[in-house]
């Protein structure tokens, strides 16, 4: 599903450049539930954006669903994003002048689904996430958790193969975070690959695989079975810091 081979990425900042990703090799299979962890500035978001074709990389190769993603035209990238992936952002990124239903329905507009039909489907998804009564509400009338659920509904409506979520619980309190994680877990159970970035290891612990980034490289990959071990190690690291 996802295959990265020696991917590099630098940002040009003024005269010098910042080398953020220094050779990432990574395989993620269909149906996996993966979290990316690491200290602030370690390149988590950068990596996720590359995976979701929101950004490009400088070196190496990235295959998504067997297709090489490199030097793609914006048009091709848009098509791929629309068909294959869904995004959930820490800051929700809802369109402020559209109500919940219209926000959720928007991806279908770009698939050429007519208004009536896409609004109907949007309502179904909002219903699934328990938001039907808020369908006509504008984003600024919703709580953080509700907004994130709207964003999740929007990412799901195009029936993507992969959901990318950059700190989806970052702006939410613990209980709301757990609700959102429950939703993502259910999505994963339906066979959709979910890749999320998080700082909180209790959140990471709910996933099946944790990728830890350090200095622009993958420091370790912890599988589900080793999670207990990871938690101990993580607490130790915190203590020494």
């Amino acid at each position: 599903m996802i295959s990265l081979n020696n991917v590099h990425k630098s940002y040009a900042t003024g005269s010098n450049s910042l080398h953020v990703l220094k050779g990432i090799d990574l395989e993620i299979k269909q149906g996996e539930f993966v979290s990316i962890m690491g200290s602030s500035g370690s390149g988590k978001s950068t990596l996720l954006n590359i995976l979701g074709i929101l950004d490009n990389y400088d070196d190496g190769s990235y295959y998504l669903n067997g297709k090489l993603v490199k030097d793609m035209s914006e048009k091709q990238a848009a098509k791929l994003r629309n068909e294959l992936v869904g995004f959930v952002f820490q800051s929700f990124n809802l369109i402020s002048f559209k109500n919940a239903m219209e926000n959720v329905a928007l991806p279908l507009y770009y698939q050429g689904v007519n208004r009536k039909k896409r609004n109907k489907i949007a309502l179904e998804y909002l219903d699934k996430l328990g938001l039907l009564p808020w369908a006509e509400h504008m984003p600024n009338e919703l709580s953080g958790g509700q907004k994130q659920r709207v964003a999740i509904a929007r990412s799901l409506i195009s029936q993507p193969k992969i959901i990318f979520a950059d700190e989806p619980t970052g702006a939410l309190d613990t209980s709301t975070s757990y609700e959102v994680m429950e939703i993502l877990k259910n999505i994963n159970n339906e066979g959709i690959t979910v890749i999320l970035v998080t700082h909180e290891h209790d959140i990471a612990a709910m996933t099946q695989k944790i990728i830890r980034l350090k200095d622009g490289k993958i420091a370790e990959i912890i599988k589900n079975g080793d999670l207990k071990h990871f938690q101990e190690q993580y607490t130790k690291a915190l203590e020494t810091a």
Binding site: L54, K75, R81, N82, G86, F89, N93, F97, Y110, R115
Partner: protein, 420 residues
């Protein structure tokens, strides 16, 4: 190309961003509105002036006799110059003269018919006066050569005299008394370009005979065959010199023989109006440029403001073309409608002004006894010009939106999303 869904998306965006819509629309509507007023005012001014000129042929010239003011060949100044029918025959055949009419003044012009009567002016003339003063016949005929030869007591009534004396009755063939002498009505006329028609025309020969004028004439009205001031001046000089030779006065003596050359006036005035027109166009183009800059500015801001939205749309699968299309169609829709509103309001205002001016004109004509005086008439704008101006603004808005929209649609969505 026409895609209901696309337009619904655009309309919903417009509806939910009223301020933005208003600002874009306002700058276009305002630009067009101001342009309409400016050009309308310019047209009104020049229409008003050319209307005033229309009253007589633009190449008309008038000559009238007086007393000499310069001694000539041993004769003292202060000598009265008397023009006669003989001078008419001379002037008529001079090269460069088209139409000629002599006039003998008759005083105290009381007109009556049955119990109706009124004070009007009876003008004695040759048939050519019709051409010199742009007289329009609405019924019957004008004074003709036969009237002149047979010194017939024929009269052509101005429409106002007819209305006052005859109401709606048939007048042709009836007899009207002028200073108690019966004249047969042969025609009804209007003065070209005027709104008041209070003059009556009778053959000059009849006037001389009936009112004791022998062969005297007081003035001449003519038209000259000239296109430029210079040409008309050459003819004017020729006439003056010919009459000066005959009546023995200095040909430059304006007091012995007065003359007014209308073409000179017309051309000078037209030159001024040409300049005013150019000036108005410059201001108009300035207004248009201000509108273009305004619209372009707003479009730049709109695209900047929408960068994040563009990022979101792209992240969920919008192609660059659809993003550009969304922004541009919105801008075209708003600017077109706003331009139309500006057009309608501008035209409406100008029509209102026109209505007001026409009333003023009628009022001034009524008090002025003869013709209404106005500097301002029919202040309307050529619709093609207005449409072209609107189209230019729409185009400018589109172009100004296109460049940043294209740029925004090309950048990576993550960069657009990062925009705060």
């Amino acid at each position: 190309m026409f895609d209901i869904d696309k337009w619904q998306e655009i309309l919903s965006t417009i509806k939910k961003n009223k301020m933005r819509t208003f600002l874009t629309g306002f700058s276009v509507a305002w630009g067009i509105f101001m342009l309409m007023i400016l050009l309308g005012a310019g047209n009104g001014l020049s229409n008003g002036v050319s209307e005033n000129f229309k009253r007589d042929a633009i190449n008309a010239m008038w000559l009238w006799s007086g007393k000499t003011s310069i001694p000539y060949q041993g004769m003292k100044e202060g000598r009265q110059i008397r023009l006669t029918n003989n001078d008419y025959d001379i002037i008529k055949d001079l090269p460069g003269i088209e139409y000629t009419s002599g006039r003998y003044y008759i005083g105290g012009n009381t007109f009556s018919y049955g119990n109706e009567y009124g004070e009007y002016t009876a003008i004695t003339c040759h048939p050519d006066l019709k051409e010199v003063e742009s007289i329009e016949i609405i019924k019957g005929r004008f004074v003709n050569e036969v009237d002149l030869k047979q010194t017939r007591k024929s009269v052509v009534l101005g429409k106002d005299i007819y209305d006052a004396l005859f109401k709606d009755k048939e007048a042709i063939g009836e007899y009207v008394r002028i200073n108690n002498i019966p004249f047969k009505v042969v025609g009804i006329c209007m003065e070209g370009g005027g709104t008041r028609h209070r003059n009556a025309y009778i053959p000059v020969s009849t006037g001389q005979k009936v009112f004791n004028g022998s062969n005297r004439l007081h003035n001449f009205a003519l038209t000259v065959d000239a296109k430029t001031i210079e040409e008309s001046q050459v003819i004017e000089t020729r006439v003056r010199e010919r009459l000066a030779r005959k009546h023995k006065f200095d040909s430059t003596d304006e007091s012995a023989l007065g003359s007014y050359n209308k073409l000179e006036d017309v051309i000078e005035t037209m030159k001024i109006f040409q300049a005013i027109k150019i000036f108005i166009w410059i201001i108009g183009i300035g207004t248009l440029i201000a509108g273009v800059v305004g619209v372009s500015n707003i479009m730049l801001i709109v695209v900047k403001e929408r960068t994040k939205e563009i990022g979101i749309r792209k992240a969920i699968g919008a192609s660059p073309a659809s993003v550009v299309g969304l922004i541009l169609l919105e801008s075209i829709l708003i600017t077109t409608i706003a331009g139309y509103i500006g057009l309608v309001l501008g035209t409406g205002l100008m029509e209102g002004v026109n209505f007001f001016v026409e009333q003023q004109y009628a009022a001034s004509a009524a008090t002025n006894g003869g013709n209404g005086d106005t500097l301002f008439r029919n202040p309307t704008v050529n619709l093609n010009v207005a449409m072209a101006a609107t189209m230019l603004l729409v185009f400018a808005g589109t172009l100004a939106g296109f460049i940043p929209a294209k740029r925004a649609s090309r950048i990576k969505p993550i960069e657009a999303l990062r925009d705060e």
